[in-house]
């Protein structure tokens, strides 16, 4: 950590290095900037060696949970008596998160190259990229990149004479937050209603069409070609021991220059704010999320928390998708929390009781509170309802839904109380 802090330039453009090149999304640009060099190397390696390389590099999933990618790949059965599938989760829907769509817009071929390498490593011959349906422009660009890759022989039969075949299908989702949950995504991809599946069986045993499947985030897979080219040691130079590598931090909100900042894992908000030009108009920071609205919020106290998987967890939150949403002192916490709660109410898939009913209840209470019709009792009720949802729901959506509420009340209880002040009921004769 001291190592990263001492670096003169905190930015480490790896995934984003091509983003500012003219026509960065074109195959020709990609090829000029060492694109499709990693697959030449990878296709000469054995699948096992590739899995081992990714394990050694310590690449952790960039979709939020941070599961080691190499370990996940090694769950795939070694034999091929059933077809294997690689599915790319590009259903980026977490509020505040905006890293995968820009990546696919600016540099789609890095994802495709990653898909080829990962598919080869997992003996998959069909890869699906599940993109959220709203980002039409991105889908078009991705489709075009896939076409380019087919035409250039990077996809299809016998890729670069290696004997390896791979098809990529770009699939547009229909706009449901839950479809970012990997099993709901698989159901949706199969044409069913997007709701999470019971696990086990896990996707590596029975995933897409009940065949061995690995679901990986866009950023995770797009990182793979650089690891193949640079090696595990190079990769581990960035970030921390347990969370190595660069990461795209999506900074939004009240900063001077919001945007994507690629920096080593373990970078602090203080450093990120410097890169983003500081707080907008100098208005002081009030609260922020380290990784989207599902991660418990932080305050100005947490400016120096290292933003890696361990650091965020230690400070009582999660790294999530490194969607850093920054709010200054003009923002009411109960209001922001209410907006988030309404998002989760709208996006709850309805499968399980705690999430379906709980988000419905919480958002109503919060709305009432913000309108000044709440009571102090409501705050305790909310916390208890949150407790009844957290860890009780079918998938993590319910857990995410209560994060902003619990952390908001934890750090800013006074603000919630203030909203209730006018409703303190003095019962007639209560003093007796």
């Amino acid at each position: 950590m001291a190592d990263t802090a001492s670096k003169t330039d905190p930015l480490t453009p790896v995934l984003t290095k091509r983003w500012l090149s003219p026509d960065s999304w074109r195959l020709s640009t990609y090829e000029q900037l060492e694109g499709y060099t990693a697959i030449r190397k990878a296709l000469r390696m054995t699948p096992e060696a590739l899995v081992e390389l990714v394990k050694e590099a310590g690449l952790r999933g960039r979709g939020g949970a941070g599961f080691p990618a190499g370990v996940k790949w090694s769950f795939m059965p070694p034999n091929e008596d059933k077809p294997h599938y690689l599915v790319i989760n590009a259903d980026e829907g977490e509020p505040g998160t905006c890293k995968d769509v820009p990546l696919m817009m600016a540099d789609p071929h890095s994802l495709i190259e990653g898909c080829i390498i990962a598919s080869y490593a997992m003996r998959a011959h069909h890869c699906f990229i599940y993109v959220r349906g709203e980002v039409l422009h991105c889908i078009r660009r991705l489709n075009n990149a896939v076409r380019e890759a087919y035409a250039a022989g990077y996809l299809g039969r016998n890729i670069l004479d290696s004997g390896f075949d791979l098809d990529i299908t770009v699939h547009a989702g229909a706009g449901a937050y839950i479809c970012g949950e990997e099993t709901a995504l698989l159901d949706s991809l199969e044409g069913r209603r997007g709701q999470p599946r019971l696990k086990p069986p896990f996707p590596a045993a029975a995933g897409l069409y009940a065949k061995p499947t690995t679901v990986n985030n866009v950023e995770t897979i797009a990182t793979v070609p650089y690891i193949v080219n640079g090696g595990a040691d190079w990769f581990r130079q960035m970030g921390t021991e347990k969370s190595p590598g660069p990461k795209i931090y999506s900074i939004s909100g009240h900063v001077e220059r919001p945007g994507q900042y690629e920096a080593p894992l373990g970078t602090t908000l203080r450093q990120l704010l410097e890169m983003a030009g500081g707080m907008k108009d100098g208005i002081p920071l009030k609260f922020w999320t380290p990784g989207g609205s599902s991660t418990p919020m932080f305050t100005a106290e947490h400016l120096d928390v290292p933003l890696d998987f361990e650091g965020a967890a230690e400070a009582g939150s999660m790294l999530g998708t490194t969607a850093v949403m920054v709010f200054n002192e003009t923002v009411s916490v109960p209001w922001a929390v209410m907006k988030w709660a309404k998002f989760y109410e709208h996006e709850s898939c309805g499968k399980c009781t705690p999430c379906r009913e709980g988000t419905y209840w919480l958002s109503q209470v919060l709305e009432r509170l913000v309108e000044g019709r709440g009571t102090e009792e409501d705050i305790d009720t909310m916390l208890d309802v949150c407790d009844n949802i957290l860890g009780r729901s079918f998938c993590a959506l319910g857990d995410g839904a209560v994060s902003p509420i619990q952390s908001g009340i934890k750090y800013f209880r006074d603000e919630f109380l203030a909203l209730c002040e006018s409703n303190k009921r003095e019962l007639v004769g209560a003093s007796a």
Binding site: L198, H346, Y360, G391
Partner: protein, 833 residues
């Protein structure tokens, strides 16, 4: 199962192979691998509350009501786990709500959440009083609600079929109904729509228009023969039946176990009545037979017994030619006098229909043999053949569930259905075949088209022209070698339906195939009483228990048992149904005793009616006016199933006894009526009560030695070529049609499958028939016009339902395998008018 030992440290019980040892609430328990925690706890007597869990459905884990705390190898899992989805593991420690405050709070929390949007309309809800939500909320919930905001509401109720109503605001979204429909019935016409708190059950018809395009799987209404089960497994009052809605409170009902009177499956049922009226029927729980399911016909078709036109007093035809109510004594006297005269004249024929209990069938045959002194008795009120009777005598009489049973089907590697459409003819057999097919049983059909049975059992179809089934079977060893090989495996089963009697040589072909492969053969008739009537001897060639009437030794034994003078029992085989009717029409019989026969079920309804008109005297034992009572000289009212005791013997040969549901209605079972009638004829049948009849039958079947003659298969007949310009008719009855036991139930009728003429595209084109428009099949006898639907039938074949609503035999005079002419439109231009 082995339960906890008092001192587990001293003598650890052995863990058997395939089992694990775990503790639940500190109590040690050994459980089979793969068992769900919720069931293991249940065996220990700890009921964990649940909604979505159902032992016959795949786990869902949706309601989260059954959360418990689990530790593995001493390490507690961070979150409470759903005990309905987690299986037992060695060394697991489980704490339920009894010992874990975490589990208890989790359960109370989920219960509170379930109730926030649930209306407090228990006082007017059908489920109130027997509601799992109500009961579990009382046991595991908070006394008061902290929810003070707006409840989610929906317009109510939603009619998702003519029979099923849905109150969406009551629904807890456990998905039992949708999972039942998808997994068990295979009719995924209801599904979840919308999401979050707006998530709801619906059909394509209930979905919002804009959602319809993306959220509904089928675009079809909820049309299922099994939809009623969703009402029964609904853990709240969200699904109710149009028939029962707002009719009664559970605590006002008296419940009796009963047996379904409709098909030959013999389902266990529960009949609930109030003040002498049946209010509803529910599926009983019988793992060996119907598990926990019944079909909609079994559930809803019971109001025939309260039809306003039910005959409750004997009727005697007066000199004016009109039937008039009479006393029992008068009616018995008139009938007995005429029957004695007929017996001493040209004789009496007895036709019994296929819906009798074993006891009643036994009484009919004893009446025939002892009082009428004839073997002219036949239960087969449908198309039948001598070949069929020989097959039944050799291969079906006396078989028990040890031969072929529901569980045999479930375990079989392959089941071949011949001339048998399980979903229409024996719905519970269909459910078991579907269950088997989902576990890997191969199901094959010799039939005409890819019916819903074929589709929903992932079946393979050996399509052949109607009438050509025998040839198709004979072709299996050569042309379908893999099928032949599969049928040679241990446990393979061939199921034959009643339609086989319409195909000459088919039983012989079945026997050849069984002989060649070693597969077991079971006969599945359509009606509840057929198998019992066969075993009771209500056939022209067999005595009770199955010995041939020609067997002198058997007759002698029976004569001794029945205390008859030696040589009194008729020794010559009698006439079958067709023979009896022909004889009656030709004046070779003087009287007919007819119980529950509808001439429209017979291959030649016109001839049957003519026979009834011609014959000198007709005694009809009936419940409601029919074509037979219209022609009867004496009508004796008999009891419907709910008003008598008795036993149905199902297709497996399993006895399904039931007691009287509605006591003291005054209605008499057939066996009692026949006993009294025989007494008037100076003969004792000893069948005064079903109990007495059963005892007599039991003694007879046990006393009479039975020599089983092997079925002599007839050589394969040459297939006649289809005559020019004709098409072949394939037909069978749909489950819900115009059957006489389905009257007075418009909601059930609304779920009947539409009646259509099915044919393939090429045949349609050749005859100018357009899909969706009317087409007509015609014979010299008459015509039948229905909308046309394209299906994968063989070329030159059409299918029509036998009685939906028009009787095919009546309209066309031919049945399955007959030749008909096909034309487009209603056929008016054909010059029929």
């Amino acid at each position: 199962m082995t339960l906890a030992h008092d001192k587990p440290t001293e003598t650890q019980p052995e863990v058997p192979e395939g089992h694990v040892r775990l503790t639940i609430d500190g109590q040690e328990v050994i459980a089979p691998k793969g068992e769900l925690l919720i069931r293991t706890a249940e065996r220990l007597g700890t009921i964990i509350p649940r909604f979505c869990d159902h032992p016959l459905l795949d786990p869902a884990g949706a309601c989260r009501q059954c959360l418990v705390e689990v530790s593995m190898g001493g390490r507690p899992m961070p979150k409470p786990q759903a005990s309905c989805t987690m299986t037992v593991a060695d060394g697991m420690e489980v704490k339920t709500q009894l010992t874990s405050p975490v589990a208890d709070k989790a359960q109370k929390g989920v219960m509170e959440l379930l109730l926030i949007n649930h209306p407090l309309d228990c006082p007017i809800c059908d489920k109130g009083g027997e509601c799992p939500l109500q009961n579990q909320a009382m046991a595991h919930g908070r006394a008061d609600s902290r929810f003070v905001d707006r409840k989610r509401t929906f317009p109510k109720p939603l009619r998702i079929s003519s029979q099923i109503l849905l109150d969406r605001e009551r629904c807890v979204l456990c998905q039992r109904c949708t999972r039942f429909s998808q997994q068990i019935a295979g009719d995924p016409f209801i599904d979840l729509l919308e999401r979050g708190a707006q998530q709801q059950i619906g059909t394509s018809e209930t979905a919002d228009l804009e959602a319809a395009a993306s959220t509904t799987p089928s675009g079809e209404p909820f049309q299922s023969y099994f939809s009623g089960n969703t009402i029964q497994i609904c853990p709240v009052g969200a699904l109710t039946s149009a028939q029962y809605r707002f009719r009664s409170r559970p605590f006002d009902l008296v419940s009796t176990p009963s047996v379904c009177e409709h098909c030959s499956s013999g389902c266990a049922e529960r009949t609930d009545f109030r003040r002498g009226r049946i209010m509803r029927k529910l599926a009983g729980d019988d793992p060996d037979v119907n598990e926990e399911w019944i079909c909609d016909k079994g559930r809803f078709a019971f109001r025939y017994a309260t039809a306003p036109d039910r005959i409750r007093k004997p009727l005697v035809r007066g000199e004016d030619g009109q039937l008039r109510e009479s006393s029992w004594t008068e009616a018995m006297q008139v009938a007995a006098d005429a029957l004695v005269k007929a017996r001493d004249g040209k004789g009496i024929g007895v036709l019994t229909g296929g819906r009798l209990t074993v006891e009643d069938a036994y009484a009919y045959q004893k009446f025939a043999r002892v009082a009428a002194r004839t073997n002219d008795i036949d239960f087969r009120a449908r198309a039948h053949s001598a070949e069929e009777l020989r097959f039944l005598a050799s291969s079906v009489v006396g078989t028990t569930p040890e031969h072929v049973s529901f569980s045999t089907l479930e375990k079989a590697p392959i089941v071949l259905c011949v001339a048998f459409e399980p979903e229409d003819e024996a719905p519970i057999v269909f459910l078991r075949l579907r269950k088997a097919s989902r576990k890997g049983t191969r199901v094959a059909y010799v039939g005409q088209w890819t019916t819903s049975s074929v589709r929903k059992t992932s079946g393979e179809l050996l399509a052949c022209a109607p009438g050509a089934e025998a040839a198709a079977l004979d072709g299996i060893p050569e042309h379908a070698k893999d099928l032949h090989e599969a049928l040679s495996a241990e446990g393979a089963v061939i199921l034959v339906g009643e339609r086989a009697a319409e195909v000459p040589g088919l039983f012989s072909a079945v026997q050849r195939l069984a002989d060649g492969t070693g597969a077991r053969v079971a006969w599945i008739p359509r009606r509840a009483g057929e198998r019992g009537a066969l075993d009771a001897g209500a056939v022209p060639t067999l005595l009770p228990g199955g010995a041939p009437v020609t067997d002198a030794q058997a007759r002698a034994a029976l004569e001794q048992l029945w205390r008859l003078p030696e040589g009194t029992l008729p020794a010559e085989p009698g006439r079958d149904t067709a023979g009896i009717l022909a004889a009656a029409a030709a004046g070779e019989l003087d009287a007919l005793v007819v119980g529950g026969v509808d001439p429209d079920d017979l291959p030649d309804p016109q001839a049957a009616r003519a026979a009834l008109d011609t014959v000198g005297f007709v005694v009809s034992l009936e419940m409601r006016p029919s074509a037979v009572t219209e022609r009867a000289d004496v009508v004796l009212p008999i009891a419907p199933t709910a008003e008598k005791a008795g036993t149905f013997r199902n297709w497996e040969g399993r006895d399904r006894p039931f007691d009287v549901t509605l006591q003291n209605t005054g209605a008499l079972p057939d066996c009692r009526v026949l006993d009294t009638l025989a007494v008037e004829m100076d003969v004792d049948l000893f069948t005064q009560t079903p109990k007495a009849a059963w005892a007599d039958f039991d003694r007879a079947a046990g006393a009479v030695p039975r020599t089983v003659e092997a079925f002599q298969a007839e050589p394969a007949a040459a297939q006649e070529e289809s005559t020019n310009g004709h098409v072949k008719l394939s037909t069978w009855r749909q489950l819900i049609d115009n059957g006489s036991l389905q009257v007075e139930e418009p909601h059930l009728a609304g779920t009947a499958r539409p009646a259509v003429i099915r044919l393939n595209a090429a045949t349609a084109e050749r005859h100018g028939v357009v899909a969706g428009e009317l087409a007509t099949v015609r014979t010299e006898r008459g015509a039948l016009t229905l909308p046309a639907e394209i299906a994968d039938l063989p070329d030159g074949v059409v299918w029509v339902p036998s009685r939906s609503p028009v009787g095919v035999y009546e309209a066309l005079g031919v049945g399955h395998g007959g030749a008909v002419q096909l034309s487009a439109g209603s056929g008016e231009t054909g010059g029929a008018a």
